[in-house]
Symmetry: C2
Subunit: 466 residues, 2 copies
């Protein structure tokens, strides 16, 4: 954690910070109240109730608020648009949570929030209720102190993030005008394990597919008929070997065509990240990293696509041996994509490759999500960084990209809006796991970050030193 | 089935054939008696009783008979050695049978032999009691008519063939002198589905092995860590691709070194076999044969080794997708070997190949059996062929080799004795299956074949035209 010069805080923000400090116990207590309400999208538990709860919260702050139905759970949209000339920030979050199983592993029940050791324990504490509730409190604090917000705010809360955001893209496409904004900020995910705040500018995309091979209509004896009957496992092995070579280069024709190299700024930001390769190797029990061997960690997980075999199954798998030529086999794969690879184009290229090299193999495209990357020097980037710096009093780590997939592309690619992910939760928030939690200091720093962001956005067009 | 000129039958054999014809009902009735006794080696049911039954049968014919213990079930060895100067034939068979499950699929109970439509139905009817009992009756018929046998006979009956003959090689090694003979004849397996008798001169060998790969100590997220963490499935795919190429050539260094090409005689015999490729493709639903594409069926299943992946398992195999980098995977393989590939040498070469191309992959050698091939023009070959011709009145099909594994090598490689497999059972004997059966006409032709064989062997050294 790199200490930084304490930034100058304007008088207006200082008053908001004061308000936050005076109300911190009440804020935590209200967080506990919010976390009592389950909203498990995968099990359809409490979804409407929590959507209505959010509508009330936003309305109480004077937001023009409504739910917008999708073919799944509704989106909650709130709008405060009384700062003409100031930028509009779209704050994205999600009100659904993961199921709480296994219940017996929780020290306190998942929907009976408890405070222990400076943390709030409950399902959703970190992912994502604690984080978007911090945004709400930041707005509320500004309004309480100043009676107004320094910039325009759109609040978009989704109810399907934990089940893969199946409707976000169509929703954004259908509501471009409603969602018009200058930047998107998402408070989700964990900060760095060192405690450093981070800002993420992008994510890799993903395509998933399955390759299925069949030969005979049944397994046959490898002695009687071996040499005569084709083996679908060999077919898949030879096909796969044409898709990525032993040096780790993906060899599907055209696969890399649209890969855009990171900018100097992105490279420089990535180079400053504290990747501890030896610790990763130790924790995972690795003797080496994946091929190609000459790539930096950042290159591996941010700037290069991957082709991963998730599973390969065919033939006999029990103890001992069974001397058969198996008759069917399948492989499940995913490819992580980087800017500007387009999932549909990549799936077409993979399918064409399969057709060319193993026409008898069935290709089945599964899910896909485009990559997203907001330039490190995008508009408002410095304001987002400054807000984090102001709230945390340390320099944030800049992640040009993450390995994982998020629906970020809906904002960057469909709306064409820069998008920043600013996690408020501690690294050990245990999201998706028993005993999910958020550290109270992280939660309050989140409220401050949200407040500083609104303040910074207001200053960005208003005369300095107001 | 190719008709052949009826061979001249000598007076001595004609008398024996006459005896067989007169006693055929009694022979069938005695076969039913024998089949009543279960002898299931895998379940240790009735093994001693049937071994003792055989000892009595052989002793009653004047054979010097004993059981020889192994660390499994005993060998039954009978000897008639009163034809000085005449050759000695070792008749091999096995007195154990497969389990009878599923019992409910049997029309008549497996150990209550029944005659229907000219067939005897019972477990062991074809595999192998009906066949070695035919040999016993052939000997008995010679003795009944002539009071003596035309050649010397060793009878070796194993009790562990159905569990993989785990002790035959050591037994043969330890009892070379006892088993000294001029040829081995095994009546086992089915004739051709056209009804043609066949003689088999060899079998492929086999080695089995497993390749195991591990990388991380657990599955990891393919987005977060894909590109960083090695994938054991890719490791195995790339290793396997170095072992056999997409054209079907095995590319393990030295693998083919000891493959001896078939002789002209073997090629000619193989070319005469009625392989119906289109029928095999139709029955198995194949659109093509295995690579390489330019091989005859005989080349595929007799004269070339194979490298078969029996099973490949690693990572996610359930429905939908799971975007992981899996942490372990394994492959089970077998290689079918031809003369003169030695299993130990081949396993060493495969292991060396693995060490060279993927040192992190664990190689585990499993079972192995050497190949065996008796030349088509080996000593006594013509006599065996002539015996079949005499009994069946058609030309036998000559199989230089079979794809499947048999313990033939124990005779050819350890004793150095030519070995011939002469099946007596019908092609639809349903061995290892419910409703196992032997056609009564096949059984009686088997008795005649055995009788003609002894006669032919006697003539081979005695003056012709006795």
């Amino acid at each position: 954690m790199k200490a930084t010069t304490t930034p100058m805080i304007g008088a207006e923000l200082a008053k908001v910070f004061g308000h936050i400090e005076r109300h911190q116990d009440a804020f935590v207590s209200r967080l506990l109240d919010y976390l009592k309400h389950p909203s498990i999208s995968s099990d359809n538990i409490g979804m409407d109730e929590v959507a209505q709860l959010l509508v009330s919260m936003l309305k109480r702050m004077g937001f023009e608020t409504r739910t917008i139905p999708t073919s799944g759970y509704p989106m909650v949209l709130g709008r405060w648009q009384h700062a003409p000339g100031a930028p509009t920030v779209l704050l994205y979050g999600h009100y659904d949570v993961q199921p709480a199983d296994p219940l017996e592993a929780w020290i306190s029940p998942p929907f009976e929030p408890a405070i222990r050791d400076g943390r709030v324990y409950a399902r959703g504490a970190g992912d994502n209720k604690g984080q978007h509730f911090a945004q709400i409190l930041a707005i509320e604090s500004h309004l309480a102190v100043h009676g107004r917000l320094p910039c325009n705010v759109l609040f978009l809360l989704e109810g399907e993030e934990e089940i893969g955001s199946p409707h976000i893209a169509d929703f954004v496409k259908a509501n471009r005008d409603l969602l018009r904004s200058d930047l998107v900020v998402t408070a989700d995910g964990p900060m760095h394990e060192s405690g450093s705040p981070i800002i993420t500018y992008g994510v890799r995309g993903v395509v998933s597919f399955e390759l299925r091979a069949r030969a005979a209509n049944r397994d046959v004896h490898s002695g009687n008929l071996g040499g005569l009957v084709p083996n679908p496992i060999w077919t898949l092995v030879h096909l796969l070997a044409t898709m990525k070579n032993a040096d780790g280069q993906i060899t599907i024709e055209g696969f890399d065509d649209d890969v855009s190299a990171p900018t100097d700024l992105e490279r420089a930001a990535a180079a400053r990240l504290p990747h501890d390769v030896e610790e990763v190797k130790r924790a995972l029990g690795l003797t080496r990293l994946d091929s190609p061997s000459d790539r930096s960690v950042a290159d591996r997980i941010m700037f290069h696509p991957t082709l991963t075999i998730n599973g390969f199954h065919g033939g006999y798998g029990g103890p001992g041996l069974k001397t058969i030529v198996p008759h069917e086999a399948f492989v499940k794969c995913d490819a992580r994509l980087v800017e500007r690879q387009a999932p549909d184009d990549i799936l077409r290229k993979i399918e064409a490759h399969v057709k060319k090299h193993a026409p008898e193999v069935e290709f089945v495209g599964l899910e896909s999500t485009p990559p997203s990357r907001t330039p490190v020097d995008a508009p408002f980037s410095e304001i987002v960084q400054s807000a984090v710096r102001t709230a945390h009093r340390v320099e944030p780590l800049i992640y040009p990209s993450l390995g994982a997939t998020l629906p970020d592309y809906a904002f960057t690619k469909i709306l064409g809006t820069p998008s920043f992910v600013v996690p408020y939760a501690n690294a050990d928030e245990a999201n998706h796991a028993p005993n999910e939690n958020i550290r109270i200091d992280c939660f309050l720093k989140g409220v401050r970050t949200g407040a500083a962001l609104l303040d910074g956005l207001g200053r960005s067009v208003w005369p300095k030193g107001l």
